[in-house]
Symmetry: C2
Subunit: 114 residues, 2 copies
Protein backbone atom coordinates (compact mmCIF):
# COMPACT_ATOMS: atom_id res chain seq x y z
CA UNK A 1 0.00 0.00 0.00
CA UNK A 2 1.38 3.43 -0.85
CA UNK A 3 0.73 6.43 1.34
CA UNK A 4 -0.68 9.45 -0.50
CA UNK A 5 1.61 12.48 -0.14
CA UNK A 6 0.44 14.86 2.60
CA UNK A 7 1.19 17.75 0.30
CA UNK A 8 -1.63 16.61 -1.98
CA UNK A 9 -4.13 16.51 0.89
CA UNK A 10 -6.85 19.07 1.51
CA UNK A 11 -7.72 20.48 4.89
CA UNK A 12 -11.15 19.24 5.98
CA UNK A 13 -13.61 21.14 8.13
CA UNK A 14 -13.30 19.76 11.66
CA UNK A 15 -15.70 19.44 14.55
CA UNK A 16 -15.42 17.95 18.02
CA UNK A 17 -16.23 14.49 16.62
CA UNK A 18 -13.43 14.52 14.05
CA UNK A 19 -10.93 11.71 14.63
CA UNK A 20 -7.58 12.20 16.34
CA UNK A 21 -4.68 10.79 14.32
CA UNK A 22 -3.98 7.18 15.32
CA UNK A 23 -0.52 6.04 16.38
CA UNK A 24 -0.09 4.28 13.02
CA UNK A 25 -1.14 7.40 11.10
CA UNK A 26 1.17 9.64 13.14
CA UNK A 27 4.12 7.35 12.43
CA UNK A 28 3.33 7.17 8.73
CA UNK A 29 2.78 10.93 8.33
CA UNK A 30 5.81 11.96 10.42
CA UNK A 31 7.96 9.94 8.02
CA UNK A 32 6.93 12.47 5.34
CA UNK A 33 7.88 15.49 7.47
CA UNK A 34 11.08 14.39 9.23
CA UNK A 35 11.97 17.87 10.55
CA UNK A 36 8.83 17.98 12.70
CA UNK A 37 8.37 16.57 16.17
CA UNK A 38 5.29 15.86 18.25
CA UNK A 39 5.35 17.73 21.55
CA UNK A 40 2.73 17.89 24.30
CA UNK A 41 1.56 21.14 25.89
CA UNK A 42 -1.02 20.96 28.70
CA UNK A 43 -1.91 17.42 27.60
CA UNK A 44 -2.47 18.46 23.96
CA UNK A 45 -0.24 16.96 21.27
CA UNK A 46 1.10 19.47 18.74
CA UNK A 47 3.40 19.33 15.72
CA UNK A 48 6.42 21.63 16.14
CA UNK A 49 9.26 22.76 13.91
CA UNK A 50 11.73 25.64 14.08
CA UNK A 51 13.05 27.31 10.91
CA UNK A 52 16.24 29.41 10.77
CA UNK A 53 16.58 32.78 9.01
CA UNK A 54 19.23 35.47 8.52
CA UNK A 55 17.46 38.10 10.60
CA UNK A 56 14.16 39.19 12.14
CA UNK A 57 12.60 40.56 8.96
CA UNK A 58 13.12 37.32 7.03
CA UNK A 59 11.61 35.31 9.88
CA UNK A 60 8.63 37.66 9.81
CA UNK A 61 8.27 37.36 6.03
CA UNK A 62 8.00 33.58 6.46
CA UNK A 63 5.37 34.10 9.16
CA UNK A 64 3.39 36.14 6.64
CA UNK A 65 3.59 33.29 4.10
CA UNK A 66 2.33 30.91 6.79
CA UNK A 67 -0.50 33.34 7.57
CA UNK A 68 -1.57 33.26 3.91
CA UNK A 69 -1.40 29.46 3.96
CA UNK A 70 -3.42 29.29 7.18
CA UNK A 71 -6.08 31.65 5.83
CA UNK A 72 -6.42 29.64 2.62
CA UNK A 73 -7.05 26.45 4.64
CA UNK A 74 -8.99 28.18 7.45
CA UNK A 75 -6.68 26.44 9.93
CA UNK A 76 -4.23 28.43 12.04
CA UNK A 77 -1.00 27.63 13.89
CA UNK A 78 0.90 29.27 16.72
CA UNK A 79 3.85 31.24 15.30
CA UNK A 80 6.74 32.31 17.51
CA UNK A 81 9.11 34.81 15.91
CA UNK A 82 12.47 35.81 17.33
CA UNK A 83 15.59 37.24 15.70
CA UNK A 84 16.62 34.71 13.02
CA UNK A 85 14.06 32.06 13.81
CA UNK A 86 10.42 31.17 13.40
CA UNK A 87 8.80 28.30 15.29
CA UNK A 88 5.49 26.81 14.14
CA UNK A 89 3.07 24.64 16.10
CA UNK A 90 0.08 23.03 14.40
CA UNK A 91 -2.74 21.28 16.26
CA UNK A 92 -6.53 21.12 16.17
CA UNK A 93 -8.20 22.98 19.03
CA UNK A 94 -11.59 21.34 18.51
CA UNK A 95 -10.28 17.83 19.15
CA UNK A 96 -7.51 18.84 21.59
CA UNK A 97 -4.82 17.14 19.57
CA UNK A 98 -3.57 16.14 16.14
CA UNK A 99 -5.75 15.66 13.07
CA UNK A 100 -4.61 14.78 9.55
CA UNK A 101 -5.10 18.48 8.73
CA UNK A 102 -2.16 19.37 10.98
CA UNK A 103 0.18 17.03 9.12
CA UNK A 104 -1.05 18.44 5.79
CA UNK A 105 -0.38 21.99 6.96
CA UNK A 106 3.04 21.03 8.36
CA UNK A 107 3.97 19.57 4.96
CA UNK A 108 2.71 22.72 3.25
CA UNK A 109 4.74 24.89 5.68
CA UNK A 110 7.88 23.06 4.56
CA UNK A 111 6.98 23.82 0.96
CA UNK A 112 6.51 27.51 1.84
CA UNK A 113 9.99 27.49 3.40
CA UNK A 114 11.69 25.69 0.52
CA UNK B 1 11.22 64.65 40.81
CA UNK B 2 9.22 63.85 37.72
CA UNK B 3 9.87 60.72 35.69
CA UNK B 4 10.41 61.37 31.96
CA UNK B 5 7.82 59.48 29.87
CA UNK B 6 9.19 56.22 28.45
CA UNK B 7 7.53 57.03 25.18
CA UNK B 8 9.93 59.97 24.74
CA UNK B 9 12.98 57.78 25.33
CA UNK B 10 15.36 56.58 22.64
CA UNK B 11 16.74 53.08 22.42
CA UNK B 12 20.47 53.08 23.18
CA UNK B 13 23.04 50.72 21.71
CA UNK B 14 23.73 48.05 24.33
CA UNK B 15 26.74 45.94 25.14
CA UNK B 16 27.45 43.34 27.82
CA UNK B 17 28.44 46.13 30.26
CA UNK B 18 25.16 48.04 29.90
CA UNK B 19 23.30 48.28 33.21
CA UNK B 20 20.37 46.07 34.13
CA UNK B 21 17.33 48.03 35.27
CA UNK B 22 17.42 48.50 39.06
CA UNK B 23 14.48 47.50 41.26
CA UNK B 24 13.58 51.17 41.70
CA UNK B 25 13.70 51.79 37.95
CA UNK B 26 11.60 48.71 37.18
CA UNK B 27 8.95 49.85 39.66
CA UNK B 28 8.93 53.39 38.28
CA UNK B 29 8.81 52.31 34.62
CA UNK B 30 6.21 49.55 35.14
CA UNK B 31 3.88 52.23 36.56
CA UNK B 32 3.90 53.76 33.07
CA UNK B 33 3.02 50.49 31.32
CA UNK B 34 0.48 48.88 33.69
CA UNK B 35 -0.59 46.15 31.23
CA UNK B 36 2.89 44.63 31.21
CA UNK B 37 4.33 42.14 33.67
CA UNK B 38 7.84 40.98 34.40
CA UNK B 39 8.25 37.24 33.94
CA UNK B 40 11.35 35.07 34.23
CA UNK B 41 12.36 32.47 31.62
CA UNK B 42 15.48 30.40 32.26
CA UNK B 43 16.61 32.94 34.82
CA UNK B 44 16.20 35.90 32.43
CA UNK B 45 13.69 38.62 33.28
CA UNK B 46 11.47 39.69 30.39
CA UNK B 47 8.60 42.14 29.92
CA UNK B 48 5.46 40.39 28.66
CA UNK B 49 2.05 41.53 27.46
CA UNK B 50 -0.71 39.86 25.48
CA UNK B 51 -2.93 41.84 23.09
CA UNK B 52 -6.35 40.65 21.85
CA UNK B 53 -7.57 40.83 18.24
CA UNK B 54 -10.60 39.79 16.21
CA UNK B 55 -8.83 37.10 14.21
CA UNK B 56 -5.46 35.76 13.07
CA UNK B 57 -4.87 38.30 10.32
CA UNK B 58 -5.33 41.29 12.64
CA UNK B 59 -2.96 39.75 15.17
CA UNK B 60 -0.43 39.30 12.36
CA UNK B 61 -0.89 42.88 11.16
CA UNK B 62 0.01 44.06 14.66
CA UNK B 63 3.08 41.78 14.62
CA UNK B 64 4.14 43.55 11.40
CA UNK B 65 3.79 46.96 13.07
CA UNK B 66 5.95 45.68 15.93
CA UNK B 67 8.50 44.41 13.40
CA UNK B 68 8.73 47.90 11.88
CA UNK B 69 9.13 49.38 15.38
CA UNK B 70 11.82 46.82 16.24
CA UNK B 71 13.74 47.48 13.05
CA UNK B 72 13.64 51.23 13.58
CA UNK B 73 15.18 50.79 17.06
CA UNK B 74 17.40 47.83 16.12
CA UNK B 75 15.99 45.97 19.12
CA UNK B 76 13.80 42.89 18.64
CA UNK B 77 11.23 41.08 20.77
CA UNK B 78 9.78 37.59 20.75
CA UNK B 79 6.32 37.65 19.12
CA UNK B 80 3.87 34.79 19.62
CA UNK B 81 0.87 34.88 17.28
CA UNK B 82 -2.20 32.69 17.66
CA UNK B 83 -5.77 33.13 16.46
CA UNK B 84 -7.00 36.42 17.98
CA UNK B 85 -3.96 37.14 20.10
CA UNK B 86 -0.42 38.42 19.95
CA UNK B 87 1.97 38.12 22.87
CA UNK B 88 5.12 40.23 23.07
CA UNK B 89 8.21 39.71 25.19
CA UNK B 90 10.96 42.32 25.36
CA UNK B 91 14.34 41.77 26.99
CA UNK B 92 18.01 42.45 26.25
CA UNK B 93 19.97 39.37 25.23
CA UNK B 94 23.37 40.97 25.79
CA UNK B 95 22.77 41.63 29.49
CA UNK B 96 20.48 38.62 30.09
CA UNK B 97 17.69 40.75 31.47
CA UNK B 98 15.88 44.07 31.38
CA UNK B 99 17.37 47.36 30.20
CA UNK B 100 15.64 50.72 29.96
CA UNK B 101 15.37 50.03 26.20
CA UNK B 102 12.91 47.21 26.89
CA UNK B 103 10.59 49.49 28.83
CA UNK B 104 10.83 52.12 26.07
CA UNK B 105 9.90 49.52 23.43
CA UNK B 106 7.07 48.15 25.58
CA UNK B 107 5.63 51.68 25.86
CA UNK B 108 6.00 52.12 22.10
CA UNK B 109 4.28 48.77 21.50
CA UNK B 110 1.27 50.06 23.43
CA UNK B 111 1.23 53.15 21.22
CA UNK B 112 1.33 50.91 18.12
CA UNK B 113 -1.67 49.02 19.49
CA UNK B 114 -3.68 52.11 20.43
Amino acid sequence: MTTPPLIEGHCQACNADSPLASDAEKKQWLAQIPDWEIIEIDGVEQLQRQYAFKNFVEAMAFAQKITDLAESHNHHPAILIEWGKCQLRWWTHKIHGLHENDFILAANSDVAFA
